[in-house]
Amino acid sequence: MLSKYGFIGILAVVAFGFPVLGLVVAWLLSPKKPNPIKQSTYECGVETIGDTWVQFRAQYYLFALVFVVFDIETVFLYPWAVAYGQLGLFALVEAALFVLILFAGLVYAWRKGALEWQ
């Protein structure tokens, strides 16, 4: 099994090295004439006002949290799906229960308006 990951390891080295190589070549070939106007933040020609790092709405966090819950539960279901053919009816009942709890969470988030984007 580890030999397969040997291939993945070499792939990882190349997948990282190739874009780095591209940037190095571009750095060698490209002109370098920086000036303050060119390097100013792009805001349609208007001077930037205030700090870039403004506070964000809690809404993003809420979506991310609902995502985390669904992501974790789905990942748990993958080994179940692989083994499902070798399992009896109880596996169906248990997974159905699992999915229904997930569904309840979705319905709750929906009813509370956590899924509305304002």
Binding site: Q55, Q59, L65, V69, F76, Y78, A83, L87, G105, A109
Partner: protein, 163 residues
């Protein structure tokens, strides 16, 4: 021959990233270093031939938890100031507690009798994991889903209250 070298390489990477997480003065960088450490742990799992754990490590910790942490940092206005102090007045007490905990862990780990498995890992362990989840570990499996649900409900209540 190759495996010990890789193990040492990834272990050093994990420890190095972990050290950077607690020493950097920039919260966003700390989150990125944390991602690096989590990747190193995933690589260690692969060396242990626990590929499912490795992929879950990346999916959940990098894909979900780390993103959540970055979002949380962005939501806290003061944390986004570029330089904040990494330590506060309690750092001495914190260091003492950490050293004591470390000593305790070393003590326990060195005394524990580790079961050794001589058989090779099965070529495909995933059906086994799936079976275990719905037979031996069915209660934790279902409780985990309830726990996640409760966490989500709590977060929604807190977020809604503020508005």
């Amino acid at each position: 021959m190759l495996l010990p070298i890789l193990f040492i390489f990834f272990s050093i990477a994990v420890l190095g990233f972990a050290l950077l997480v607690v020493t950097t003065r920039n919260m966003f960088h700390a989150a990125l270093f944390l991602v690096g450490a989590l990747f190193g742990v995933a690589a260690l799992y692969i060396l242990l031939e626990a590929e499912f754990l490795a992929v879950v490590q990346i999916l959940i910790y990098v894909g979900a938890i780390a993103t959540l942490i970055v979002f949380a940092i962005m939501l806290s206005r003061n944390m986004m100031r570029r330089d904040i102090r990494a330590a506060n007045d309690q750092w001495v007490e914190g260091a003492v507690a950490a050293v004591l905990l470390f000593a305790l862990l070393v003590l326990v780990l060195s005394r524990a009798s580790w079961p050794t498995v001589t058989a090779a890992a099965p070529p495909d362990a995933i059906p086994g994991i799936g079976k275990a989840l719905v037979s031996d570990y069915v209660i934790p499996f279902e409780v985990a889903s309830v726990l996640l649900l409760v966490g989500m409900v709590g977060a929604i209540i807190i977020a809604r209250e503020r508005e």
